[in-house]
Each structure stands twice: as C-alpha cells, then as structure tokens.
C-alpha cells in the first residue's frame, strides 16, 4: 500500500507536468494566441502592446513564461488575462455547481445502468432485453446538446414542469436545487446509462457460464442468489472502475455541453468560455484540475478494485 501511494503520487506529478507543458505549448502554436494583443484592446498602438508584453513577461523565453505561470498557479495568484479575475477563486466558485451535477448524475447513471444491464442480461434474447438494447442505443447516440435542449424547451419552457436552467444553491433552497438539477442530471446520465447497461450486460453474460456459477447452482442456491451473490458481484467490478473515471471527467469540467445547455456556471462552462477567449491561465488551471481529478479518482478506483477483487495487488 505504501509503495502504491508513492508510485501514484509520483505518476500524478508526472502527468500534471506533462499536461501543463502540453497545454501551454498549444497556445504558443494557436494563431492569434498572443495574449498581449488581446490585453491591449483593439485600438492599442504598437508601443502599448510592447509595454504590455514587457510588464506581463510575454517577451521572455517560453520556458521562463511557463515556469512563472506555474509558480503563480501554485501560490494561488494566477489571474485571467481577459477579466483579470483570480482563476482559482473562479473555479472554487464554480466547483459546487459541477459537483452537484456530477454527484446526482453519477448516482443516477450508475444505479440505472446497473438495473438496466442486469435486467437485460437476465432476460437476454427476449423482448425486455431487445427493448432495453434499443433504448440504450438511442441513449448512446443521443447528443446532450439536442436532448438537453429538447428537455429544456418542452419540460422547462413549454410545459413549465421544471425550471429550464440555472443553478440554485443547496444551502439556500434545497428544493430549488433539486428542481433545477433534475433535468441536467438526466440529460447527462442518458449516455452513460446506455454505455453502462451494455457493458454490464456483456460482462454478466460472460460470467454466467463460468465454472464458479455452476458450482453456486450445484450448492442449491436459488437463481436469484446465484445471480446477485456470484454473477453480479463479479460483474460489477469493471463497472465500478468505469464509473470512477467518468465521474472524474465530469467533475474535472467534462460536462461542458450539459452545463452550457442548462446554463449552469460550473467548471465545464468556465472551461468553454476560457477556451473561446484563448485565456491561457484559466485553461491551464482547468486542464490541470481535470487531469488531477482523473488521476486521483483512478487511484481511488484502484484501491476499491483491489478491495473488490482480492486477486489484485496494489
């Protein structure tokens, strides 16, 4: 376990360094990426631009610029080139929104993915399975910007069942929080439910012919006991690791579309805006934050994996 932690910390640092360098370099290559031009505004003279370039340090070699930016990121003083806001404060403000979205949606897609996948495998080849297969295919191929927009328009605006967007703080109005998030949760979950139920179905059907399942039947267990205690227990292991990574990517700002469609000021929407504005510091911080959550969650997934499957050594 000790060695596992050391190894993971080391690889996390490596991943963060690599990803930050890569992101930083992308901005050097993007046309019109020079931040001094945008900072100076449209009517700026060449001298003004040069002055900005000098004060912000854009005239220094790239590696110095990189190191300076990283330094600022780590002492928490990095500001956006565009609005001049502190990037980390922005993320801290947006994170509860994204976390609310991710937690609710993550729970929904895991639960429904398991239920649908298990039902599908249990009735494999019959009508229920075929119906669920069609549903999951629709779910997988339904883009969030379409599904979200349709939901927001009909359920939100036209029928007025649920509010079509925006975020309400849980601490201020718990019911409002829930009401505002139900639609985004479902819009985000649909794709994952489709994927998870397909993965679980095929894992179950793989495991169901395993020798230990035959042993479980030979012991005199009921079909339900065989399915739940032996088949499902073994089949859920890959689902859990899948969930950890998907959850991490949503927390890390991956739900850009859902957040934009429902106007949730989360990390994803912040990322979208920053990229549009070619704002290096905020994009850099968000990318690193996203990478960090993925690496962290995957370490947690590995620990959980080892707990679920004793054959795996950390």
């Amino acid at each position: 376990m000790g060695r596992f932690v050391v190894r993971r910390v080391a690889s996390t640092i490596g991943v963060l360094i690599a990803i930050s360098i890569f992101t930083f370099l992308i901005f050097q290559a993007i046309p019109n990426g020079d931040p001094a031009l945008r900072l100076a505004g449209r009517t700026a003279t060449q001298t003004q631009i040069e002055a900005i370039r000098h004060t912000w340090g854009f005239d220094k070699p790239i590696y110095i610029q990189y190191l300076r930016t990283m330094e600022k990121i780590f002492d928490g003083s990095v500001v956006s080139y565009n609005q001049g806001f502190n990037v980390e404060e922005e993320i801290r403000r947006d994170l509860p929104v994204t976390a609310s979205l991710a937690l609710g949606a993550g729970f929904i897609w895991l639960a429904l993915g398991i239920v649908f996948g298990a039902l599908s495998a249990w009735r494999a080849g019959r009508w229920l399975d075929r119906g669920l297969t069609v549903l999951s295919m629709i779910g997988v191929s339904m883009p969030v910007f379409f599904l979200g927009a349709v939901l927001a328009y009909y359920v939100g605006d036209k029928w007025g069942v649920l509010p079509p967007g925006d975020y309400v703080k849980l601490t201020e109005d718990p019911w409002g929080w829930l009401e505002h998030l139900v639609m985004p949760w479902f819009a985000l979950s649909v794709l994952f439910i489709g994927v998870y139920s397909r993965v679980l179905r095929s894992t179950i059907l793989d495991n169901i012919n395993d020798d230990y399942v035959r042993t479980a039947r030979a012991k005199g267990l009921s079909e339900r006991q065989v399915m739940i205690r032996h088949v499902l227990r073994n089949s859920l292991i890959p689902i859990i690791s899948l969930w950890g990574l998907d959850f991490a990517s949503v927390i890390g700002g991956g739900a850009i579309l859902t957040e934009s469609v429902f106007n949730l000021h989360g990390v994803g929407q912040y990322a979208a805006q920053s990229v549009q504005a070619l704002d290096i510091p905020s994009v850099l911080v968000i990318t690193m934050f996203g990478a960090f959550t993925v690496v962290l969650l995957s370490a947690i997934v590995d620990v959980v994996y080892a707990a679920l499957d004793p054959r795996i050594r950390l």
């Binding site: 020798d211 042993t215 030979a218 499957d309």
Partner: protein
Amino acid sequence: MSDPERLLEVRDLRVCFQTEGGVVKAVGGVSFDVDRGEVVAIVGESGSGKSVTAMTLMGLTRSANASFQGSARFEGTELIAAREDQLRRIRGARIAMIFQDPMSSLNPVQRVGEQIVEQIRVHDHAISKRAAGERAITLMARVGIPQARERARSYPHEFSGGMRQRAMIAMALSCSPSLLIADEPTTALDVTIQAQIISELKQLCEETGAAVILVSHDLGVVADIADRVLVMYGGRIVEQATLDELFYDPQHPYTWGLLGSIARLDRDRTQRLPAIAGMPPSLVNPPEGCHFRPRCPHAFERCTQVPGLDSRLAQGSGHLDRCWLSPEQKRKLRSVEGVIGLASDETVIA
C-alpha cells in the same frame, strides 16, 4: 418393491441439445443403478456423454435448448421432471458435486470459508453464521487442509490446485449428501496430488456413507476407487461391470481399446502407446447400429443393428455389454501381443 439399498435408479435417460448444427443426442438411453455407499465410475472419452449424464442428475444441464426423456429416481424423488425448487433442495444437500477444474470452480472474490458457509446455510436455515463457520473449519481440517482456521479466511487464488479441490470436497460433503458426483475430480491436478485426492475422497465417502458417481476418462483413477464401472461411448453405455470383471474380462472392443491404451511399465519402451484409431462419433448424425462400428476392427454385418445392453456371459450376471460378438470370439480377439488391447486394422488383416 423398491430395494432400500437402492439410492439412484436411472432408466433410459436421453438428453438432446438443439444447436445450430442440428440436434446433438448427447445421451441416448442410459440406464444404471447406484446403491448406497457404492462407488460407480463412468468412463469414456470426451463427448461420450458421461459428464452430461452426471450433470443432468443435478439439473445442471437444464436450458432452453435442452430436452430430456427417461427417469432418474433418487431417494423417492424423480429428478428429471422435478421442479426447480424441488431440485434446489436436493442440490448440495442430498446430491453434491465436485467439478473438474478447481481453479475456476470456486468464486474468485469470496473467501473459501465463506463459500462453504454459504452452502451450509442455504440448506440449514437454523444454523448461526458462527456455527456454520466452525463447521466449515472442521470440514476443511477433515479434508486435509492444514491450519484450516486461517485458511478459511483465504481466497481461492491463495490455494494450490490440490488445496482448492480439497476445499471443493469439503464444500460438497458439508451437508452430508448421500450421493457425491465427482466430474473428473483429479484431471486438472498434478499426478502426485491425484492419487492423494482420490484416496482421501474414498476414505471420506466410506466414513460418511456417501455413494459416489465418479466421472473420469482415466482408468487408473477408476481402478483405485470404483466398485462398478460403466463404460460410455457415443452417448450410450457399452459395458457395465464390476471393477475386476472390467479389467480382467472386458467384453466390449472399445473397453479393450481403453485398457490397451493405458501406459504400462511392463510394455516395451520402444513401442508407441497404442491408441484407438479414428474419431469419436458425431452425436448429431451418429453411425447406424453400434456407435463404435466405424472404429472397430472386428465389426461385421450384424453391427449395423444396435446391440442391446445385455448379459452375454453367465445367466443373471451383472456384467453387461453392447457387442454382438460371442464371449469366445471376444476372448480370442482381445488378446493383442499377449495383453488386452484393440487390434489395429493392419494386425487384423495380417
């Protein structure tokens, strides 16, 4: 009228599987009895129907594409037609089963002790978890697992193959079944462990009074433990005899072939190990008449009719076979270079 010593009566059991390639007649009319405490071996090559026969008794071959005929009465219950919930009370409690591959037959993510406890508790609702745990440890110690208390907390992958099979045996015996079905219990084990496991199995069954159906392709294993032997070929029993009768007076040419292909220390080392020429029969389109006919060097016209499983030796003898040859002819034909074997075609011509 029924014999109190009779534990299991199988009558004309037939099992077919619907597959894309046609109907596979895996078991084509098998009848045999097992008495209490008796060890009956079913031998035959892969695809002879021996495992299907054994698993069908437990209802483990039931599936949408399987169909069953015939009967199997076990302690007054008809197994073939039994409802699933009836069978469930018998499985593990009255009939237990040990499988071929102990590596994969235990649940990899459940502690070995827990797997035994699960079996005990599913049939004994009154027993506490702690008492079942103690019983599991006692059982594990009894089948020769050292430090059973600690080992009960281990996972299957922490056990060696032999230990896993011992754990399977402990699990199978946990509810004191009256019939134990062992499907190739030693095939996946090292040869040195095989003999140990077999002799322990025999001893445990003698102690508990459980009868055994031993499914095996290994006549060496069978010779160690069986009272009676059924030889299966192409879904039928072709010979049924006591162990001694089978080894010293085999009646069916297929049995000769099996006996002749055992590696022997007294055979000339420079010779190749004899094998039965040809392939096992297709169970979708089995050969007409005797299923062994296409591979039998002694086949003649009459073999296109299916020979019955009859006693062709003394009247009332329990030694049955499915071969049209007369006992005198058999005695002459089965001697190949002084030992029992199946003559190859060349030898016959010469």
